[in-house]
Every structure is written in C-alpha cells, then in structure tokens.
C-alpha cells in the first residue's frame, strides 16, 4: 500500500507520527496495548508503595514517598491521555484492566514486606523501568514519546531517592542493613524479569522494531541494568543474590545466572503473591467510587441544562 510505505518512510526518517496521521491498524493496536499496560502499571504500582506511606519512619521520607506515589498517578493520567489519542477511552481501558483482560507490570504482584522494599522498588524497579523507557522517549508515536520524556525525568528522581533510602539503611544498624539485603534478595530477579523474555522467545519484536516502537532488544536492556546496578550494590555493601554473577572481561559486561522464567510466566498467569489482592483493591475502589462519578455527571448535566435554559 502507498499509505503504508509513506508511513514507514516517515518512521525511518525519524519523523513522529501524530494522532491525525494515517497509521496501520496493527501499529495502533500495538501502541494501545503497550501504552495502556504502562498506564495500568502506574496505577496498580501505587498500591505496593502506598502500603508503606502511613508507616514511613520519618516525616521527610513520608513526604518523598507520598510525592512519588502522586507522580505515579500523574504518569497514569498522561499515559491514558496518550492512549486516548489513539481512539480508545480511559474508561474502556480501565474496564479491560478490571476484567482481567489487560496486563500490568508483573512486578507489582510482589508484596512490599518491609520499609527497605520501598528503597528496592525505587532503585531496582524504577531503575529497570527507566532503562526500558528512555529509548521510548524517541519512539515513533509523538504523544507517547512526549509522555515518556516527562515520565523518565521523574522516574530518575525516584530512583535516586530509592537508592538514598537504602544507603541510609546500609549505613544504619545491622538490623537495618539486613533489611536492605533481604529486600535486594527478593526484588533482584523480578526486576530483571521486567525486561521480558529473552528476544528469542519474544513475539512481535521484529515488527515493533520496524515501527520504531521497540528500539533495543530485551536482553540488551537487561544487560544494561545488570551492568549499571552491580557497582551500585557494591557501594551499598550488599550482595546480589546470584552466585553466577561475575565480570566478563572479554564481553565488557557482567555475566549473570539463568532467570526462572517459570516464575515469570506463572505470575503473569495470575499466580503471583498479590495478583488477586491488587486487582480486587482496584476493582473495589472503582465500585465504591461509582456514586461519586455518577454524582459529578449528574451535576454536570444539571449545569448544562441550566446553561441551555438560560441561553
């Protein structure tokens, strides 16, 4: 098709695709899926961190965490808006999430068991997210790329805050340091899984690459995460829970152990420690809020009617 060729040429030339431009249906669908998953992840991601806001150990740390969770709700908003430019409403996307038909990042199905987990999420989970997302700031779809620029700026701030939290624990009492190590033990592998299966096993990668939605391979991004994180862990004095981890002089990268993909696919299937709770919490919140949304709509209708009557 001519349209399709023009479309691909624009992408190849690095020109952004905008909402009103023609685009292949597959491109639209892939983007809607990816952006909405990302939006859902921000929303569901509020829950594991929100779990420690009321228990933050200092008022300053509490303020940082509250601000972070607020940022996440904001990211959710931009991303739903970006998805809406593709012709699907936020309500429809949320309905998919609540029906269990849409995914969100599996990492949020793990529980936050101690205060150190808040640090580990900032350091490792936001760390992986940033590595995943920085390339997306240059992706071919304009609204998504622009949303990502804003998101990445805030995420890197969150990552530093998470690291700082762990640094305080690692400089603290032996109990606090043990808490930090325990958090690293539990979050390390799930954070590596965030990049998705090895490219060999990853569907749709080629097409997404051609469309400028996927710019690096999952494995390449994962390697970057490992390389970046190992020295940070060393600085904290923490041990990464991987006996196979070691520097490979030849590759110029760290080698690391095999990932337990059974666990990954199991959690995606719904069998993570918190899948049921997370979804139930969101659905409950939505149902409890029905009267609220209905009330605001009723008021808006009344106002509109009054405006019409006055005109």
């Amino acid at each position: 098709e001519g349209q399709e060729r023009v479309f691909q040429e624009r992408i190849d030339a690095g020109v952004k695709i905008e909402p009103k431009d023609w685009m292949p249906e597959g491109y639209r669908k892939t983007l809607v899926r990816q952006i909405s998953q990302h939006a859902h992840s921000e929303i569901v991601g509020q829950l594991p961190e929100g779990n420690w806001i009321t228990r933050a150990p200092t008022l300053k740390r509490k303020a940082i965490l509250l601000a972070k969770v607020q940022d996440e709700a904001g990211h959710g908003l931009y991303l739903y808006s970006a998805a809406e430019t593709l012709g699907v409403s936020r309500d429809a996307l949320i309905a998919q999430l609540h029906a269990g038909k849409a995914k969100y990042s599996s990492i949020f199905n793990y529980p936050t068991l101690t205060w150190a987990d808040i640090g580990a999420i900032g350091w490792l989970v936001d760390g992986s997210a940033i590595i995943n997302q920085i390339p997306l700031c240059r992706c071919s779809y304009g609204p998504y790329a622009r949303a990502m620029v804003r998101v990445c700026k805030e995420e890197s701030f969150h990552q530093r805050q998470g690291y700082d939290l762990l640094l305080a624990l690692c400089n603290g009492t032996p109990e606090q340091k043990a808490m930090a190590q325990d958090a690293l033990n539990r979050w390390w592998w799930p954070a590596l899984m965030m990049f998705g299966p090895s490219d060999a096993d990853s569907v749709n990668s080629a097409q997404s690459t051609q469309w400028g939605i996927k710019l690096f391979s999952n494995d390449a991004l994962r390697q970057k995460m490992v390389d970046q994180t190992v020295p940070q862990a060393e600085y904290l004095g923490l041990t990464i829970p991987d006996p196979d981890l070691k520097w490979n002089e030849e590759r110029g990268h760290y080698d690391f152990g095999a990932i337990d993909w059974d666990e990954f696919f199991n959690v995606i299937k719904g069998n993570g420690p918190c899948n049921r709770e997370r979804l139930a919490t969101r659905v409950q919140a939505y149902e409890d809020g029905e009267w609220f949304r209905e009330g605001l709509n009723a008021h808006a209708d009344k106002q509109a009617a009054r405006g019409a009557a006055a005109a």
Partner: protein
C-alpha cells in the same frame, strides 16, 4: 517568656501541627483507592501539603520546647494522650463522602484560622501560616466545589453527602471552643479567640450547603470536645500505632 507561657505556646503550635499531621495520615490511607485517578492525585497532593505544614509546626514546636526534640521525635514518640489534634481530623475515612465532608468542614475552618494567624506577633507562626494559607485556599476551593457538585448531583450522591454532613457535624464544635491555651494565645497576641471564627465559618458553610442543596445541621447541637486537650476517640491510638511502628520497633535507628 515565663515557663507557663512557653508551655501554652508549645501546646498551641502542637495543635496546629498534630491536626495537619493526623489529617495528612488519614488522606494518605486513600492512596490508590480513590474514586477516580484525579482524586487519587488530589488526595496525595492535599496530604503532602498538610504533611509539609505539620513539619513546619512540629519543628517550631521543638524549638519552643527547647528539649532537643525535632519533628520526628514529636511525631513518632508521643502517644495519643499527648497529641492535640482536633477530633474532626482523626475520624476514620468512612466512604468518600465522609472524607470529603470532613475535609470541607476542616478546610473552611483552617483557612479562617490561618488568615488570623497572619497577624500573629510571632513571626515564625505568621510565616508558617502565610505559606500554608496559599495551599489551604486551594484545598478549600476544591472541597467546596466537590460539596456543591456532589450535593447537587444525583439523588444518591446528595443522600450520601447529607449523611456525611450530619454524622460529622458533632465534631465541628471543638474548632470554636477556647480553653486556657487559646486564651493565652489571644492575650499574648500570637493567636486568636477560636469562638470568633464561628460566625464566619457558619456563614461560609451555610452558603456552600445552600448551593449544594444540603441542609445545614443544627448549629446549636451538642458537640464533642477533648482533642485539643489530648482526649481523643478510640481510633487515634490505632492511627498512631501504625504511623509510629518503625520508630518504636527500632529505637535509635536513623532512617
């Protein structure tokens, strides 16, 4: 300043700080559970503003006390009998109508109170109030707007808002009841007589309720009191137990 004066002023600062802290806590309990994404953001934002205000008040209270206690020592190492927040703000969240009406009743008072503190002869109190007032003016606009939209919304939203307005009413009177601490604040010129806020508060609430088609509860109804003097309901000690759990469990640790 005599010792009694210092103690009164300290209590006065703690009332503002504890009230902001406890309400911030209650709002943060909504995290990720609001009725709409915009509400999640607004709740977190309000919680954050109040937390910031609490930190200013508690830091200043620590200076007034001059025993070396900082904001964290005061927030995390006092029990509920030593907290002086208003009873209104410690009330459990209930449904979202309850939380919004609580916020509205409080914001309407808070804005008036802070405006009076602008004229405090204590420069630090005036400065805290000035910064806070900007935030609180926005809180009040928002909560007033929601009260109107939900009161004059659907039949169901109207009924829920009215029920919340009635249920929380008995906790509003305390905002206008003075005691020795208030009398000292007014006499020394760093604070004000809380009774003087009652008429403007009632006027404002009545105006908003009228627009919201809500019925104002009886202003002369019996009212709870005690929060400002450290006599709270049963819910507060649970709230503080949760808030303080790490500081209490790991004494002396730095975070």
């Amino acid at each position: 300043m005599s010792q009694t004066d210092a103690a009164q002023k300290l209590a006065y600062a703690l009332r503002f700080g504890d009230t902001a802290l406890v309400l911030s806590h209650r709002l943060s309990e909504w995290c990720g559970k609001g009725p709409a994404l915009e509400e999640d953001m607004a709740l977190a934002n309000t919680a954050l503003d109040l937390l910031g205000q609490a930190r200013h008040w508690l830091t200043y209270a620590g200076e007034l006390e001059a025993q070396g206690r900082d904001e964290d020592a005061l927030a995390y190492h006092r029990n509920d009998r030593e907290f002086f927040n208003l009873l209104l703000v410690e009330q459990p969240n209930g449904n979202y109508a309850d939380s919004m009406v609580r916020q509205f009743y409080f914001d309407a008072w808070h804005a008036l109170a802070l405006r009076r503190l602008l004229a405090s002869n204590d420069a630090q109190m005036a400065a805290i109030a000035e910064k806070a007032l900007k935030e609180v003016s926005y809180h009040l606009r928002r909560s007033s707007d929601l009260v109107v939209r939900l009161g004059d919304g659907s039949e169901r939203s109207h009924a829920m808002m009215q029920a919340a307005a009635d249920a929380l009413w008995a906790y509003t009177g305390e905002m206008f009841m003075g005691d020795a601490v208030d009398a000292d604040a007014a006499a020394q010129g760093y604070g004000f007589d809380p009774a003087s806020l009652r008429a403007p508060w009632l006027d404002y609430v009545r105006e908003v309720f009228d627009e919201a088609t809500l019925t104002l509860p009886n202003p002369d109804a019996w009212m709870h009191q005690g929060g400002k003097q450290g006599r709270h309901g049963e819910a507060l000690s649970y709230l503080l137990g949760e808030m303080q759990v790490l500081q209490r469990s790991y004494p002396g640790a730095q975070w």
